[in-house]
Amino acid sequence: MDFLRPASWEEALAAKAEHPTAVPIAGGTDVMVEINFDHRRPEALLDLNRIGELREWEVGEETVRLGACVPYTRIIESLRAELPGLALAAHTVGSPQIRNRGSVGGNLGAASPAGDSHPALLAAGAEVEAVSVRGTRMIPVEEFYTGVKRNCLEADELIRAVHIRKADGPQQFSKVGTRNAMVIAVCAFGVALHPETRTVRTGIGSAAPTPIRATAAEEFLNSALEEAGLWDSGQIIPPAVARQFAELVSGAANPIDDVRGSAAYRRHALGVMARRTLGWTWEEFRGNERSARCA
């Protein structure tokens, strides 16, 4: 196995072009497990750890440009206000040691349906900055995942950063596992309110071949909120609407039975998480509105 250690981003792109089967490695929290357990024997590893810029982020007007290798710990510590959903998701990743090493770029590269950041990215709205020696393209995150542990990156492309929309409203993330910490998702759900556009976005993890948005649930809820004038009134969401939303989220999933949980449980749990997280975000939204009015 070759171990390539580019000193700069340009060198990394050149190396990836020259060795298209090379597997990028940063924190190694996923790749090393696969290697150690002999699930994968790449011809080459492309070590990104010498490229400092990948561990940086920029908070812009509309988005946060998050370097591919920014560890989860940094997101939790420094980006909670801008990326609350992702920060919550980051908190559920592995152990403190794993959170010090693992990154969103790695989660996207692995494209496991169980990756914790995906539902938060889908709900917030994000684009993946994919770069090769041929140039740069921005890929909306919902188009990024193409199958179980597959994404739409070309063989010569590397993830440089993820551009995530800054929160313009409350966000939540919730994940079911069969212990209370350090657990792979049985299923997960993210929701983000976008008061500026008067929309709600969602993300489902570990309950379909890829991370997905529950689009029918989003559309139903968007029109229900609009019709009832709830964005303006700040009234509570009628229980029937929340229930219908939860059922549509549940219906959007296409889960399997496996050693971590049954398909029926995953559907059920998604419905519960959808109802609860919608309730939490909407309560927070109402609270924000009230205090805005009082001010």
């Binding site: 079911v176 212990r179 209370n180 350090m182 050693v259 971590r260 749990a269 998480m273």
Partner: protein, 793 residues
Amino acid sequence: MGATRTPSNITQGSKAKGGIGESTLRPDGTLKVTGEFAYSSDMWHEDMLWGFTLRSPHAHAEIKSIDTSQALAQAGVYAVLTYDDLPTDVKNYGLEIQDTPVLAHGRVRHHGEPVALVAADHPETARRAAAKIKVEYVPLPVVHDEASALAEDAPLLHPGRDDHHAGHVPHPNIVHRQPIHRGDVAAARARADVIVSGEYEVGMQDQAFLGPESGLAVPGEDGGVDLYIATQWLHSDLRQIAPVLGLPPEKVRMTLSGVGGAFGGREDLSMQIHACLLALRTNKPVKIVYNRFESFFGHVHRHPAKLWYEHGATRDGKLTHMKCRIVLDGGAYASASPAVVGNASSLSVGPYVIDDVEIEAVALYTNNPPCGAMRGFGAVQACFAYEAQMDKLAAELGLDPVEFRQLNAMSQGTVMPTGQVVDSPAPVAELLRRVKAMPLPPEKQWETAGESADVRALPGGLSNTTHGEGVVRGIGYAVGIKNVGFSEGFDDYSTARVRLEVINGEPVAIVHTAMAEVGQGGVTVHAQIARTELGVTQVTIHPADTQVGSAGSTSASRQTYVTGGAVKHTCEAVREKVLELGRARFGSYHPAWATAELLLESGKVVTDGGEVLADLVDVLEGEAIDLELEWRHRPTEPFDLRTGQGNGHVQYSFAAHRAVVEVDTDLGLVKVVELACAQDVGKALNPLSVVGQIQGGTTQGLGLAVMEEIVVSPEAKVRNPSFTDYLIPTILDTPTIPVDVLELADEHAPYGLRGIGEAPTLSSTPAVVAAIRAATGLALKRVPVRPEHLTGT
């Protein structure tokens, strides 16, 4: 009821500083916490090779052929061994029944069975070479449960059995069967006002020790081998290893290396013989280390069990009778199955007085992973079932579950179903009283001063699944009974060598045993015993090896009792020698040498009145006293094969738990808020270690209750051999565990102590499940309880 003390103040007992009763710190503690402790997997030897084991991908298959030529041709490979390379006629091993092939011969009986070995100059080279070994398998039909094992045309796991159980089992796929009959169940049943029955199931738990199987075999110049190994019983390993190698036992020299936990999983051999074979073949040191995946195939697990119980009681709450049938899945090889059957049957009644019982326990041979020893050993499975039955009966009778248990609790003098009289304290009702009397943890601990909930205190934890919605609290109780020591007539002795001499002007005791320190704290306790008995400050614990006699197994809650007993016994003999020397040298100077009771204290010979007669340094005068002695507890008897009668056990051990859980009833997630434990320990030799053992056992029981299970498919394949999918409790899953320690001396045991390691593992599981039942109203007949069971999905 005798005086009871909480852990913080049970420090009296010995006048010697650092003697028994003190919470002296363990010598390995800091090293382990700081990561400096050398485990068996850390060993290294110049020029050493790495061994690798090729394992069967099938649960049951015929091996048509094995072609090792391509593996042997790979650069860096020194040896490839199969069954045909075994050096002697002894090709099997086993704890009680020698039915386990060192390497598969013509047939594999379980997923992961060792088929071939490779030694190479790099672990990766060894792994790649193993992948080049061509094994031609023809899959065979799989036996995976009682129905398929006992079917008319069932394939026999071990045709032509000639072991000592073969003659009395009803079917060759039953390893051992133990019935117990006592009293008149039909008559007693007729007296019952209420009859409750239930079917229960316990999943396959793994010991999940953190240090994987590993060791280093170094060939000796005399044709023998030195094996540095993490194990639970050096001499049991030696007895099984030497015949396979064709070496006399003295040429297989074993030294204990750093053991990263055991819990029963190191009672059977793993890589011991394999490493020795490769070392002797290549004449080079060979190290084998399993990774986590392989470790799940490298040791036996806890027997999964199905249990059928019937109990009756009168309207006023007295138990009338009990009938039960316990089916344990032993997997492909016998391992400790016969002894597990003995425990499951003889302890199936629990810590209750029931005079009329009909009991049957069996262990099956199947193609599932082999199962054997794990903390609690047959008593865990039974306790889950009988405690569920107690709650059911109490509910049926409209009685408080604790009062109902107390009404039927055994005590000193109770006769067990085996006819054995419990002849030391059995404070079952008192333990229940104590655990119930502890203050309850506050409600809704997730509520914080601010607006947001502290999710760490909620089911789901940091996964942020609830902020209090759907959360219901439940409280449950359980109590259990475990035997201490090896039972059924086994000669369960230990050996200790103690040397007392003056080094640099100070008396020093050296304690040498073959006891495996697996984390239980035995080395700490041995030093405490030597200080107490010999009145010295300096005690050196010699590394455990086979240059001294057997210390028996570090299992069955027995080491402090039996090897601790041997250390005490040998120290007493050494003390007598010291006093003999003293009398010879100084007897004429003071009459008390002849007349008084003499003790060794603070490096001096003193009278029981406290008068100093001589300095130990002067008494010894350059001489060393060095003794190696065996010590035995009271003998036990086998259980009668038809009636189950017999004084089979050495000592009984009791613990009770109260579990407080909070269940997210919508998502089926559980947070164990508190697991209070009360346990009688006879005498706490090291109170801090006692509490640690109780908290550890309690947590392991919690794991079985809500998460720990090796999932085996109907094809008998292991589906979750990793810590990603075999979940053990994290610190966030571990509740506060208040411990109330009771010390009622057992007059038959050294210092009155009671073995403690296993009892807390028994009652923890049913207490947690009882609490979940209380929170949800669900019947819950199986552990581990999964979210699916709680949500009907």
